[in-house]
C-alpha cells in the first residue's frame, strides 16, 4: 500500500518492449538498479511498469540496445498535475482546501455530553465554556486532567467526568452522583402532631399510641410515644414510627384584579438568520421589520456529516410580535380562574392530602375579586421528634 502511494506520488509508466532481444532491456535495467514492476512476456514482447524518472533515465540506453520502447499508460501525480497545468486554480484550490482542513482540524468543531440524565446539559456546557472548552477553541489548550480537577469539585451533582478529544470533537462523559440514602438514626423519638386536626386513622408500627381515633389534637401534641414499658415493668426507649391521618382545616385566599394588561403573541414574526462558522458569525438574511413589543426565540441548526457535527451552522433568531390588551374580568370568568387556581394548589402544593371538604366564597370590591377557600384535608400529620435519654 505504502509502495503504491510512493509510486503514485513519483509517477509511473506502463511500457511495452519489442525488438529482437527484449530480455536485454531487463538486464540493462537491473544493472542500473532500476526496478521493473510486473514484467510480463506476451507474443515476443515484454510489458511492465517503471517509475517515470527511471524510464527517462533508461530510454537512451534502450534505444542503443536495439529494442523499441513504447509507453502504453501514464499513471501518478506528476501526470495528473500536468493535465491541470492550464487550470492553475484547481491545484491551488485543492492545496488551499487541504491547508484549510488541516488548519480547521486544530480547533474544536463540536462539544457533546454523554451520561447527563438528571443534570442540565446546558449547565454543564456553560461550566466547560467558562474553562475555555467550546466550539472554536484551540484543541491544544484542552487539558483533560486539569479540567477534571477543576470542574469535578464545582459540579457537585457529578461523581466522575472524562474529557476525550477525538479528532475535532470533544466528547465529555459524565457520571451523576447517586443521592445519599436517608439512614434512620438510632436515636429514640416520639411522633407528634405537625398541625392541629381531628384524628381519623392511626397506623403505629412502633411505639405506644397515646391518642384515640376521633380525638382532636393540637400542633406539637404527643401522638405515639417512643417510651414503652415491658411486661417486667422495664422502660424501653425506641424510635417510634407511625402514620397518623387527621382531618386538617386549611384556608387559602387569592385575589384577581378586575382589569389587567394581557400580553399575547400574534402570528407576526420575523426570522433573522446568521451563518456560523466556528467562532465567526455572518448575517445570512436581511429584515427591516420591527415591532413595538417583541419577544425573541433562538435556535441553532448545525450541519453534520454522518454522526459528526461540523463547525458550520445557521443561527435563527425569531422576533415575535407581542400584543398588549387591556382585559376586563367578569365575575363568572373570575370564578373559573379561582377554581383552576385552587385545583393547581390541591395538585401541586398538597399532593399527598385528600380533600374532604371545600368551600369557596367570592367577594367583589371596586378593584377586583377576592376568593376565600376553606378546606378540610385528610393527611398524615405525624412528625418525628427526637429526645435525649440521660
Amino acid at each position: 500500500m505504502l509502495i503504491e502511494v510512493f509510486r503514485f506520488i513519483k509517477g509511473s509508466v506502463d511500457f511495452e518492449i519489442s525488438g529482437r532481444f527484449p530480455e536485454r532491456f531487463l538486464n540493462l535495467a537491473a544493472r542500473r538498479g532500476i526496478s521493473v514492476i510486473n514484467a510480463c512476456p506476451s507474443n515476443g514482447r515484454i510489458s511492465g511498469r517503471m517509475i517515470a524518472a527511471d524510464y527517462r533515465r533508461i530510454r537512451p540506453t534502450a534505444k542503443s540496445s536495439g529494442v523499441r520502447l513504447r509507453i502504453t499508460k501514464k499513471r501518478g501525480l506528476p501526470f495528473l498535475a500536468r493535465r491541470f497545468r492550464g487550470r492553475l486554480g484547481l491545484p491551488v484550490g485543492f492545496v488551499l482546501g487541504i491547508a484549510l482542513l488541516i488548519f480547521l482540524s486544530c480547533f474544536v468543531w463540536s462539544v457533546s455530553i454523554e451520561g447527563a440524565e438528571q443534570t442540565s446539559e446546558t449547565k454543564l456546557l456553560r461550566a466547560f465554556e467558562d474553562q475555555g472548552v467550546k466550539v472554536g477553541c484551540f484543541k491544544g489548550r484542552i487539558d483533560p486532567l486539569e479540567l477534571r480537577t477543576k470542574l469535578l469539585p464545582e459540579l457537585k451533582e457529578l461523581s466522575w467526568l472524562s474529557v476525550n478529544v477525538i479528532g475535532s470533537t470533544v466528547r465529555i462523559e459524565v457520571r451523576e452522583r447517586s443521592p445519599k440514602p436517608e439512614l434512620e438514626s438510632g436515636h429514640p423519638c416520639n411522633i407528634v402532631a405537625r398541625t392541629d386536626g381531628v384524628i381519623t386513622k392511626i397506623n403505629a408500627a412502633r411505639g405506644k399510641t397515646e391518642i384515640a381515633e376521633g380525638s382532636g389534637v393540637a400542633k406539637g401534641e404527643l401522638l405515639v410515644s417512643g417510651v414503652t414499658n415491658t411486661a417486667r415493668d422495664e422502660v424501653v426507649f425506641s424510635r417510634a414510627r407511625a402514620e397518623v391521618f387527621a382531618d386538617v382545616y386549611s384556608e387559602k385566599e387569592s385575589y384577581l384584579p378586575k382589569s389587567f394588561d394581557y400580553y399575547s403573541l400574534t402570528e407576526n414574526k420575523v426570522d433573522r438568520r446568521r451563518l456560523s462558522i466556528l467562532w465567526w458569525e455572518f448575517p445570512a438574511s436581511l429584515s427591516f421589520t420591527s415591532y413595538e413589543n417583541t419577544a425573541y426565540s433562538e435556535s441553532f441548526d448545525s450541519a453534520s456529516l454522518g454522526n459528526n457535527s461540523l463547525p458550520l451552522g445557521l443561527r435563527t433568531r425569531t422576533a415575535h410580535e407581542v400584543r398588549n390588551e387591556r382585559f376586563t374580568l367578569s365575575r363568572r370568568s373570575a370564578e373559573v380562574c379561582f377554581k383552576n387556581e385552587l385545583l393547581l394548589y390541591e395538585l401541586f402544593e398538597r399532593p399527598d392530602s385528600a380533600v374532604r371538604e371545600r368551600k369557596l366564597s367570592i367577594t367583589e370590591d371596586g378593584r377586583g375579586y377576592r376568593c376565600s377557600a376553606s378546606y378540610i384535608f385528610n393527611e398524615d400529620i405525624a412528625e418525628e421528634k427526637e429526645f435525649d435519654v440521660n
Binding site: 530480455e23 531487463l26 537491473a30 526496478s35 514492476i37 514484467a39 512476456p41
Partner: protein, 80 residues
Amino acid sequence: MKRNEFSAPDMGSLPLIEMLGNRRISIEGSTGILLYEESCIRINTSKMVVSFGGRGLRVRCIGGSCVEVEGVVTEIKFIF
C-alpha cells in the same frame, strides 16, 4: 590418501537457488536473463545457464544479481 587430493569446488561463484514449492524461485548470482517467455525462462549465471520450464512464468522482480521467478515450474535444467 593425501589430504589435498580431494578439493571442494568454489561454492562462492555458484548461483544460490531458493524454491518455494514449484511456485516461486529466487536465484542469486544471476548475470542476466537470456530468454523470457511464459513457458520458459533462462537465466544466465557465471558458471551455468539455469532454465525453468512451466506455465504462466513471469519475473516477479529483478535486481542487480537477484531474479525472482513466479509461476508453475514443471522442470529445471542446468545447461553448461
